[in-house]
Symmetry: C2
Subunit: 115 residues, 2 copies
């Protein structure tokens, strides 16, 4: 039985909120890549193999909307657009590092091939 | 530019592996709920509002396949089936707690409404 403490019948709001962003394919990977430094659309596409242009555009818009990524227009010429983590996005990086360590140590290798 | 260190052109394998499981809707929430204790199918369905029976069955099979959840058959009578975290699943709990804290502190409230 699920323990009857702390309103166990509903997944807690903080985790629900976290996975409203991270529980969608690519978002966690994009944030981790941006943690290495700001990048252009083309650089991000190369950094996340398998993502399509449409999906990358959608995900970046979503991450901007969630306040985790800034879209930075550099006036140039030529004008260029880069994406960078906000402070809120940066604060996620240590947690993603822990998540990576957990995956390395605890997640069955086969899992990666099932998605 | 993305920093040219540590093979930056590819999202690192550990994060990719972590999000092969967690980057799918419901998986993170299901694991967090199971962190409160083992539960039956019906209990899990109630604990994660909005999930369908089909999706819950699919996700549980996936989490069992990834070695994060055990399907425990209790002989009864009546026979019953419960789901419980494995050790690997348990080791994720502190990271999920950190993720929840990050979401509470840093994730725009609006994000939760966009999924």
């Amino acid at each position: 039985m699920i323990e009857p403490t702390a309103d166990p019948h509903v997944c807690d709001a903080a985790i629900t909120r976290a996975f409203s962003v991270l529980g969608k394919r690519w978002n966690g990977m994009l944030l981790r890549v941006l943690g290495f430094g700001a990048g252009s659309f083309a650089e991000l596409r190369r950094a996340v193999p398998g993502i399509s242009d449409t999906m990358l555009a959608d995900r970046l818009a979503e991450l901007v909307g969630a306040g985790l990524v800034d879209r930075v227009v550099e006036p140039g010429p030529p004008v260029s657009v880069r994406y960078a983590l906000t402070d809120a996005g940066e604060r996620l990086m240590p947690v993603l590092d822990d998540l990576g360590r957990w995956a390395n140590e605890s997640l069955a290798r086969e899992a990666a091939s099932t998605r």
